[in-house]
């Protein structure tokens, strides 16, 4: 089946529903297609797409003089489609897409706080990214807002109206933003009866550091460095997505060896994080043996990163036009020879994980996210794959070098903590297999082409399958090769809300393991 052969059917549906769409250039945002839509049809366009079966994959705005351009991404069978409309800056109202896509809720509120777009029919118009440190009528991503605008005085955020509960025996547990462990900050508000969680509400945005704003005016290399720090555990994948967006905007093709090395870094990042998570999930149910074993394997893996790639977490390895440095023949051998020892270790450890009754007792049937819930939220990565959502960009719309590789993707239906751990366990083995092929068939040649900035107004979309799931990065260039707009959409936007659902009916002491099994990025979401 070829790409976008479903598009004519969707366009016919739009015609039936009298939603006027104009086909944009297929070249500008390739491989995504662009559909321009009137602002008043924005909500109905989402309704039709939802009925058609599209996944909702993000929304962002950008200011062009006295109007705001809004783009929303949809995905179907691995292809991406951009809906685009414009609203006047003086009266930026737009129908909400959240009634049809619950996963759009927070991102629309982010656009509301950052650009001042009013989404009519939004079920929950409370602020999201703003915590009272800038005025409610000021919007940081508008052109009249200076990046060094002084924040309002520090004060506790007391007027955010959390969901309340009443009734005999019901009580509330507020947690965070400073959590008990070595972990990113965020606020969780639990309502519980006895040990059972009735409701969880998340309040995020604590590590909002203005990434989208400070990206403006950077050059391409500066943006790659910033992208590598959107979420420190996903430095490779975010840098890759940003560079892919910039390279597509600039019509630059990365040399084959650099493509392969990017995938080597990416699969190593996936393995390192999955190893850490498997151990941490076990630790959260007091299985300290497994935690120490996986922490040990992760440490050895990171040391190979440092020895061969120059950085334990692989920061700044990916640059516009390629990769920062080549691997020597000896380094390739070292990375290749690390594969089999890890496989042997896992062959000893996995059977214990699979066959340990007290572990199964804690992980199986805990924190269940149904396939229907995952589908409605658009959950990605191991959260989606554990709940029947069979999507992996490396397989469904492969980008180089995955277009020449066989990428298997595990799929489970039970949607519990155990399934989310099993996806990770299988993905580690699959990534090791990919690493073997990548390292054994590493093309010769250059690892970088010179960066050449595109004309002002050029835009590009980067799409990669991160270890947490699909990352979408949008870049538009301004004058002199400077960045005019950068929006990195981490998969955590869709996986965080899943945690609010899957915790229902579980006991409070199981929250840490449920949370770890989802492992949303705070930084990647808060921006």
């Amino acid at each position: 089946m070829s790409h976008f052969d479903w598009l004519s059917e969707l366009l016919a549906r739009y015609q039936d529903e009298r939603v006027l769409v104009r086909r944009g250039s297929a070249r500008e945002l390739a491989p995504a297609h662009l559909l321009e839509i009137d602002a008043e049809d924005w909500g109905r366009a989402a309704q039709v797409a939802a009925q058609f079966g599209c996944r909702w994959a993000g929304v962002w705005a950008e200011q062009h003089d006295d109007s705001l351009l809004i783009s929303a991404a949809l995905a179907y069978q691995g292809d991406h489609l951009l809906l685009r409309t414009a609203v006047p800056l003086a009266a930026p109202r737009l129908p909400s897409q959240t009634p049809y896509y619950p996963g759009a809720d927070r991102m629309e509120r982010h656009v509301q706080d950052m650009h001042g777009v009013v989404f009519s029919d939004h079920p929950d118009p409370r602020r999201w990214s703003r915590h009272n440190r800038w005025a409610p009528d000021r919007y940081p991503l508008r052109k009249d807002f200076s990046v060094d605008n002084a924040p309002l005085p520090a004060a506790p955020e007391q007027d955010y109206s959390f969901i309340q509960t009443q009734g005999a025996g019901a009580y509330e547990i507020p947690v965070g933003p400073v959590h008990a462990g070595i972990i990113e900050p965020g606020h969780f508000r639990f309502q519980a009866v006895g040990e059972m969680v009735l409701n969880l509400e998340q309040r995020l945005g604590y590590v909002h550091k203005g990434i989208e704003k400070i990206a403006e005016g950077r050059d391409a290399h500066g943006l790659a460095r910033l992208a590598g720090r959107v979420s420190g555990d996903s430095t490779v994948h975010h840098a890759w997505a940003a560079c892919m967006a910039m390279e597509r905007a600039a019509r630059i093709t990365v040399p084959p060896r650099a493509q392969a090395l990017r995938a080597v870094y990416a699969e190593r990042e996936r393995i390192a994080n999955h190893l850490g998570d498997i151990g941490a999930i076990c630790n959260d149910v007091a299985f300290a043996f497994m935690w120490q074993q996986f922490a040990r394997l992760r440490e050895l893996w990171l040391r190979d990163n440092a020895a061969c790639c120059g950085h334990r977490l692989l920061m700044d390895c990916i640059v516009p036009g390629g990769v920062a440095r080549d691997l020597s023949a000896e380094q390739v051998v070292r990375l290749r020879s690390a594969v089999d020892p890890l496989r042997r270790e896992l062959a000893a450890l996995y059977p214990i994980l699979d066959d340990h009754p007290s572990l199964e007792d804690r992980l199986a049937t805990t924190g269940v996210l149904s396939a229907e819930q995952a589908q409605r939220l658009g959950c990605l990565g191991y959260v989606g794959k554990a709940s029947g959502q069979d999507a992996d960009l490396r397989r469904d719309h492969p980008y180089a070098p995955y277009d020449r590789l066989h990428v298997p993707s595990p799929l489970f239906q039970t949607g519990d903590v155990e399934a989310r751990m099993q996806v990770r366990m299988q993905e580690v083995l699959d990534s090791l297999e990919l690493l073997v092929v990548l390292l054994d068939t590493l093309p010769d040649g250059a690892v970088q082409v010179p960066w050449q900035a595109p004309a002002a107004g050029s835009e590009g979309l980067g799409l990669v399958e991160g270890w947490r799931g699909e990352i979408l990065s949008y870049v538009r260039f301004g004058a002199d090769g400077r960045i005019a707009r950068y929006f990195p959409r981490d998969p955590s936007w869709f996986n965080w809300p899943a945690l609010e659902l899957l915790i229902h009916g579980n006991i409070v002491p199981d929250f840490p393991v449920c949370n770890k099994s989802v492992n949303g990025s705070y930084s990647g979401h808060d921006l």
């Binding site: 604590y206 043996f289 990171l302 977490l313 808060d526």
Partner: protein, 168 residues
């Protein structure tokens, strides 16, 4: 159970001595001595992410793996600032975390040490100061020492910690 015991036996002891080429071995002894002298043999750290990208947290986590096993020096991480001798702060301080950081600082009993870990905490790093970021931790609370790095490696974190104790 036998498989677990077998794996433990095969894995053996993996804890490493700090590298011998640096003055670290000496500092290692001083750390233990310093902690014994100043903190009754036990140094409690409350880690606070004030806006980090999470890379620093990953490396701080690694301090607890078997290779570094920082507890052998009497260093341990605690949940409450009320139990802490040291605040180990990462990230540029996001304006949204400013109040929480101040409150955590105020909740830590004196004498308390504040260590800013990582380039962002040291000087603002890639994020600097903006409408959303106060930059370096020292812009918000008094800082006793900084540990540079993006992120600092576990070894750099240990070295930094040793140095702090040596100097105070």
């Amino acid at each position: 159970m036998l498989r677990i015991l077998n794996k433990i036996r095969q894995t053996g002891l993996i804890t490493e001595d700090l590298p011998r080429d640096v003055v670290l071995e000496q500092v290692g002894a001083q750390l233990r001595a310093g902690i014994a002298r100043q903190f009754q043999g036990s140094l409690a750290i409350r880690q606070v992410d004030a806006g980090s990208c999470n890379a620093c947290e990953l490396e701080i986590h690694a301090l607890n793996n078997g290779y570094y096993d920082i507890e052998r020096y009497g260093v341990h991480f605690v949940a409450s600032p009320r139990h802490a001798d040291v605040l180990l702060v990462t990230g540029p301080v996001s304006v949204h975390m400013e109040t929480a950081l101040l409150r955590t600082y105020e909740a830590t009993p004196a004498p308390r040490l504040v260590i800013a870990a990582g380039d962002c905490a040291a000087c603002g790093g890639e994020f600097g100061c903006s409408y959303a970021s106060r930059g370096a931790v020292s812009n918000v609370i008094p800082v006793d020492a900084v540990i540079p790095g993006c992120p600092p490696t576990p070894l750099a974190l240990m070295q930094g910690l040793l140095q702090v104790l040596e100097e105070t």
